[in-house]
Amino acid sequence: MAVTGSKAADIKTRQRKWEEWKRGLPIYFMILPGLLFFIVFKYVPMGGILIAFQNYDPFDGFLQSSWVGFDHFQRLFQDPDFWKIFRNTLMISALNLFLFFPVPIIVSLLLNEVRLKWFKKGAQTLLYVPHFLSWVVIVSMTVLLFSAQDGGINNLLSTMGYERIELMTNPEYFRMVYLFQVIWKEAGWSAIIFLAALASVDPTLYEAATMDGASRLRQIWHINLPALRSTIIILFILRLGHVMDTGFEHILLLQNSLNIDVSEVFDTYVYRVGILQAEFSYTTAVGLFKALIGLGLVYLANRASRKIGEEGVY
């Protein structure tokens, strides 16, 4: 008796599940375009990774090109410039992760404290507009202002009797120029997501804090930062996945013979060797190597974040 009862219940739940599924059908259909997008544009091209293990000749195609195993990876690790490029890539990523990454958070915290609505709006617009300029424009502007011979700032300096600064060619300045340009272009734009997170903070928390006598700084520390914590962690993990992607265009534009020792990164190397010298297999191997490192870092960071009790990205 009891057995048949549970069976009936079983059938009932199954039926309910089917009903639910049927009700959700339109929503499942809505996933379809997104799914297709990923399959067509993300998963299918992954097949191209195969050429990293071939001596790919575009005129022979996938099928006729010969297989070479890990030769291309060996060549990469034996390249005399490998460590230099690796070091530069990590350095620039470190700049991005530790010096650039906190800036938008600070910007959003500051903007959040502004009480004058029109000023807040205006400041925010001014901060995020540079995001829409291309790197070509930004680098050319910097050259116009700072080139040693004709740059406006340098001409000003020299008429005032100061030394000219070789900002674009002295390798010592390269990282600084890079970082400042990134901050100028992206800080305001990246702050938007943090501002959104701050907007969702319950106002009663501030009221309670004021009652308890907390100053503005205390409020930021005990209310705003905790509210941002999960956003910060997720964005940080996502950024770790791109540790080896330093962005190609910006660096290529800043690169010249004099700063090449600090400015050559994997992305520019791939462009030079892969696209300009048409070594497709080799550069695919380099790309794969980059991706694997990024994947490893994301995995580790995700585990760490779960350990400290936050949600990871997956």
Binding site: P58, F59, V143, D150, M168, L258, L276, Q277, A278
Partner: protein, 511 residues
């Protein structure tokens, strides 16, 4: 979605067409392919031709350009041109190679041409040339042979003037400072130094440079800009130099390099050489001349009256340019690095034979008297008009249409005056010709030109670039003079030795 529908639609159409074709009978098809082998000169059928070439400032033509319309009419073709900015051209070719999908006929840079020659993607035009008298007449055989295996011509050369660019100097600046046109290297240095420090433009500010130059991104041709005219004075080769029956690359000429780099290093330290040179792009030193910021530059005489002088005289009505011959070096040497024709126009080997013949016909026509006149001067009544006997007047449409683009950027006769038009001032034409004639006397030949080395294709650009990076570092004083020898050793170890060997073998074979 739209694309998908279009695709499936065209699929349906294709199938229908195929079925219809079958129904029409194979006899017709056979007949046609038989005819095409005989040389389809009859122009009976309209053929679509996809053409790709480089473009420079101002970009290419819109699809419905009067010159294209005229060519379409005369050759019964539908010419579709893709203009790719020159800076991205090698990139574009390589991307096309990755998908193995090339246009019907296209301009190809030498690096890619040499690399892909054996891949059977270019048509061998040698057996066909006898049918095309103008190509034979206006393209020298020697140039056809360059960079080709024996008995094959995988492309038709794109003409470069060997001694096109010339050194020019601001005569008004010289007069103002009481200096003469420089003759020797020392004169050159003194003039450049005076230009940098003695305020030649008289605006009370020290904002002029002595001389400027660009670094060629590939690092192969030495230095661009005015420095091009200084290397020979120190005995540096134009890439390859013949010494005792052996070819020697400039990258390994230790003594000559030290003399030259030493000179540049001094110029940089004393503010004579433009401090910005490492970040300058291809036309920047000329831009500086046109902007009145420098008084010495590498000019293209053909562009002198069209591009260079107008902005300059607008800025300073007294501005005047004169030619400077390459300065005489410490040991009496002088020269200008000749730039012989290396790039090619190739025809896709995969396309229909009939189409190939029509493309050759088009190219042959562009070289004929009638066709050359059309692609160079445009259409009478539209781009120019006849005012009297042998007198012409340029019409406004030619400024807007820039009727010369196909000649300038795609294909032309081996003719130094290819951008000199019949409506131009005879005095200007004479000046331009004088620039060319003077320069041609001092050409330093590249003795290794036209030979192919496998290693150079593979590693050449990379080691050349590194070598050049070091030279630049030495010039600005970031590295000591001894680094030159280190750079030479690294160049040789990185593949240079193999390149020297291969090029010399090719040279021996050619004798």
């Amino acid at each position: 979605m739209k694309k998908l529908t279009a695709l499936s639609l065209s699929g349906v159409l294709l199938t229908t067409a195929a079925i219809a074709g079958c129904a029409g009978g194979s006899a017709v098809n056979k007949n046609e392919s038989g005819k095409s082998k005989a040389g389809a000169d009859d122009l009976g059928e309209k053929i679509t031709i996809n053409l790709m070439t480089r473009s420079y400032a101002g970009g290419g033509w819109p699809p419905n350009h009067p010159v294209i319309d005229e060519l379409n009419k005369r050759l019964n073709i539908d010419l579709k041109i893709e203009w790719v900015p020159a800076a991205n051209y090698p990139e574009k070719l390589n991307v096309m190679a990755a998908s193995n999908n090339f246009p019907d006929v296209y301009y190809i840079t030498n690096t890619e041409y040499v690399k892909w020659q054996s891949k059977n993607i270019f048509m061998d035009v040698k057996p066909e040339l006898s049918k095309y008298p103008n190509i034979v007449k206006y393209i020298p055989e020697e140039s056809l042979k360059h960079f080709n295996p024996k008995d094959k011509y995988y492309g038709i050369p794109f003409y470069y003037q060997e001694a096109r660019d010339s050194l020019a100097i601001r005569k008004d600046w010289l007069d103002k400072l009481g200096l003469k046109v420089p003759e020797t290297m020392d004169d050159f240095y003194n003039v450049a130094k005076a230009f940098a420090t003695s305020d030649p433009d008289g605006n009370g500010k020290q904002n002029t440079v002595g001389f400027s130059m660009e670094i060629s991104p590939a690092g192969t041709f030495g230095f661009g800009g005015p420095a091009n005219f200084l290397t020979s004075s120190f005995g540096l080769a134009n890439n390859w130099k013949l010494d005792g029956g052996k070819l020697i690359p400039m990258q390994t000429q230790s003594k000559e390099l030290k003399d030259f780099i030493g000179f540049m290093r001094k110029a940089y330290a004393e503010g004579v050489l433009d401090k910005d040179f490492p970040i300058l792009k291809s036309r920047d030193s000329l831009n500086k001349l046109e902007a009145g910021k420098s008084g010495i530059a590498n000019v293209n005489p053909q562009q002198l009256y069209v591009e260079t002088l107008p902005p300059l005289t607008k800025l300073d009505p007294k501005a005047e340019l004169v030619q400077v011959l390459p300065p005489v070096g410490p040991t009496g040497l002088r020269g200008t690095r000749g730039l012989p024709t290396a790039d090619k126009i190739v025809i896709n080997s995969k396309i229909d034979a009939k189409k190939q013949q029509r493309i050759l016909k088009l190219m042959d026509y562009m070289l004929s008297d009638e066709g050359y006149d059309l692609v160079k001067h445009g259409i009478e009544g539209v781009h120019y008009k006849k005012t009297a006997d042998e007198r012409y007047e340029q019409l406004e449409a030619s400024v807007k249409d820039r009727q010369f683009l196909l000649v300038g950027w795609f294909f032309k006769r081996f003719d130094p005056m290819f951008l000199i038009y019949k409506w131009m001032d005879p005095k200007e034409t004479a000046t331009i010709k004088a620039y060319f004639d003077n320069n041609a006397k001092y050409v330093t030949k590249n003795e290794g030109f036209g030979f192919v080395s496998e290693t150079a294709i593979k590693v050449g650009p990379n080691i050349d670039k590194k070598w050049m990076d070091t030279m630049v570092k030495v010039i600005v004083g970031q590295e000591p003079m001894e680094s030159i020898d280190k750079a030479i050793a690294e160049w040789k170890a990185g593949g240079g030795d193999a390149i020297i060997k291969e090029i010399n073998e090719e040279y021996q074979k050619s004798k």
